[in-house]
Amino acid sequence: MKPDDAFLSAAPHLAVAGLSRRYGAFTALDDVSLAIRKGEFVCLLGPSGCGKTTLLRLVAGLDTPDAGRVLAHGADITRLPPARRDYGIVFQSYALFPNLSVADNIAYGLTPRRERARHRERVRELLELVGLPGAEDKYPAALSGGQQQRVALARALATSPGLLLLDEPLSALDARVRDKLRDELKRLQKKLGVTTLMVTHDQAEALAIADRVVVMNAGRIEQVGTPSEIYRQPASRFVAEFVGEANWLAARRVADDVVEVGSHRLVLGQALPAGDAFSLFVRPEDVLVRERWQAAPNTLLARVADVAFAGALTRLKLAPEGMPGVTLTAELCPSMLSRQTVVPGQIVPVALPAERLIAYPEGARC
């Protein structure tokens, strides 16, 4: 960005407004609006087939929308061909040119082509950046999946684009490599400050890497927020179910902010939405096991049905009294367990903090 862009910097770096894309009678993308700030790392998260790639391709100009606009700094670029835009892209397949060496792949978009020496220097720099120094003369087929991914990233960054688009860049890798590359990608993005839009169906990946997460479902945006907003305050039942783990309790309205679950009354931190029947949502780590019974709102007794060691955490299965058929999952950290031992069959007091309970109208399932 040049300084003389300043008066435009009020407009978002990239925005889409009312974007729709239909394939015959099927709506792949339905009235999607989104704004991305400069330097931000945004993840499009959603189940397979929800329209993430479709949105990315519209932003890239590889496809044209049926309605809506794509804006760069407020300027309409909806109908501009890809070559007139300014982005680098990495696909899930990497799409490395098999007959070109790593160096030629990375230098593919560098112009003019006769400035070989300058390109060689740039390629060396990029390979260093992505952690593959010295790989210039190899061919893609001789590289591992993780190495190919790095080359594809280097190629996308070679022309210093203003925007980086990534379509499931880590999905084809095995778990260990994936976690390592995820962290490297995040570090690289912060270092270069390049605005990044990444597609993934892996919620853990999205939460770990993104500044902001866009949760999509069936062609629509369900929620846009920081990873902690998405995790703590899911805006819809779909988001709550898709992101992280949760307990779901069938509840009935009693008062404005009170519900009944089984024979227990639970107070909520905010007013209930409209309706009489709800699904009550609480994260396993928000189910608190107390040392001693103290009569207090949202506290009940539960029998420990199972204790499972899960590495850093211990997972309990709890059968609350007065809620027949309900099993609550709780996650305890080691420091809690050091104060108190928990064994199956034991009766323990359990608290469900009001501000951690969220009620979703029943029947409004995704």
């Binding site: 990239l14 890809p82 070559a83 696909f91 007959n99 001789a142």
Partner: protein
Amino acid sequence: MLNMPARRTDGAGPARPASGPDLEALLGRILPLVWVAALLLAIAFPLMAMLGRAFLAADGGFVGLAHFAEVAGSPGLVRAALNSFAVSAAATLVVVPLAFGFAFALTRTATWGRGVFRQVALLPLLAPSLMPAISLVYLFGNQGLLKDWVGGSVYGFWGVLAGEVFYTFPHAFLILATALAASDARLAEAARVLGAGPVRRFFSVTLPAARYGLVSAALVVFTLVVTDFGVPKVVGGDFNVLAVEAFKQVIGQQNFERGAVVGLMLLVPALLTFGVERRLARRQAAALSARAVPFAPSRRRGVDLAAFAGLTLVSFAIVSLLAVGVAASLLAYWPYDLSFTLAHYDFSGVDGGGWSAYVNSLTLATASALVGAPLVFLGAYWTEKLKAAAGVAPVLRAFALLPMAVPGLVLGLGYVFFFNHPANPLRGLYGGMALMAVCTVAHFYTTAHLTAATALKQLDAEFEAVAASLKVPFWVTLYRVTLPVCTPALIDVARFFFVSAMTTVSALIFLYSPDSSVAAVALVTMDDAGDTAAAAAMATLIVATSAAVSLALSALEGAVSRRKARWKSR
């Protein structure tokens, strides 16, 4: 995407042109249309000209079905139609089981020399369809070596049948070998575990899995025989068939209307075959799951020996039909004087154009390969890869499939009616080599297109998208990536065009002039004039040239593949 438009609003000089005509999009829209226009000219218009001839009087007035009625009322033509049907049905009944057995032995047993047998099965593709007919004459004709083996004369139904079996065998074999190779080994495994015996396994698993292939092969063989001209021309004798009749009507009697009607009659089975085949191909592709496990036969001595015996028998028949022709061309006077001579290769005393026809054939084949292969490859590239062409691609794709539905004989007739029409400004091309090359490329366009399209589909679908994001125009990526990666397929297409141009007669017989006669057409002339030994020599030249060029291009393909392997090893 962000810097460019922003800079433009500021009035700062854009680093790259942000407005003005988009050359890529423009080319993407225009180039496929050029291909559509070319195919219109080379296929659709000639066909329409033929249709017109069938329904119009010589002076241009519409006569409805009058020409058809005339043909139906002429006993000669009705008999020819019946003969065509009979010999096509018979050939189908012989070739399909034979080719199925051959393909089955090659794909489902571990017998010896499978690679060699496969090549032998494909040998007839290198020869014009007249070659087996000539060999048959030498074997069973009036002075044939084995004349006493056959009760009557080789001229007629049985001779035509034998020649057609040889000619269509590799076509059926290729389809059936593909179908059998593709069927899932896990089904056969499961059936065996369930206790099904070999006979039951064959009828409950193998045969159903290959049923699309069987139907396809039957249709293809039927159509090839109905529209073939070479074999009945040489050994038909009094046994008249439609394909020869069309030739006689147009070239012999200049009766264009009747020729057009007969052409239409030949087009009908071809169109039907084409429609059914395309549907089957789609279903077969759908039935083939990506996880199917290819069948890996194990050594069973008894079965393998039986397979070996069967394969040897069929291969012997194929090789003999070629070898007799070759031998006859090198012997002084078969079967009386068996001394070696090259005299039959001195074509100076015979009609048909002799060596200049052979040189014309070489020129035609080279031109078809060198022009056809890039043309077809680019056409396939427009339909499969060029995003800007997405709107025109379905039209171009349909036009690329059309030639498969048009037999060469019908195409040749269409060319006569269209390019030889007094009102056609392109009339000057008629009788020249250029038009013959155009006709050859058009005639074999579909198979070549499908080969190229298959190769292109195997490339990563995002190459073009990546290149576009890097602001590299499509022609650079085509040149730097797509072409090098697809070179083997391109060579394959070139080889196909070369061999097809060397061996085909059916369309060219309507297009040549005395100066532009080609080897395969010269065969017909020589045979007509009774110069059978010269015809055998010319056929041998064609086979030798096809084989040599095939081998050379295979070697080239091998070298290219080895270079590709280098991309993988470093």
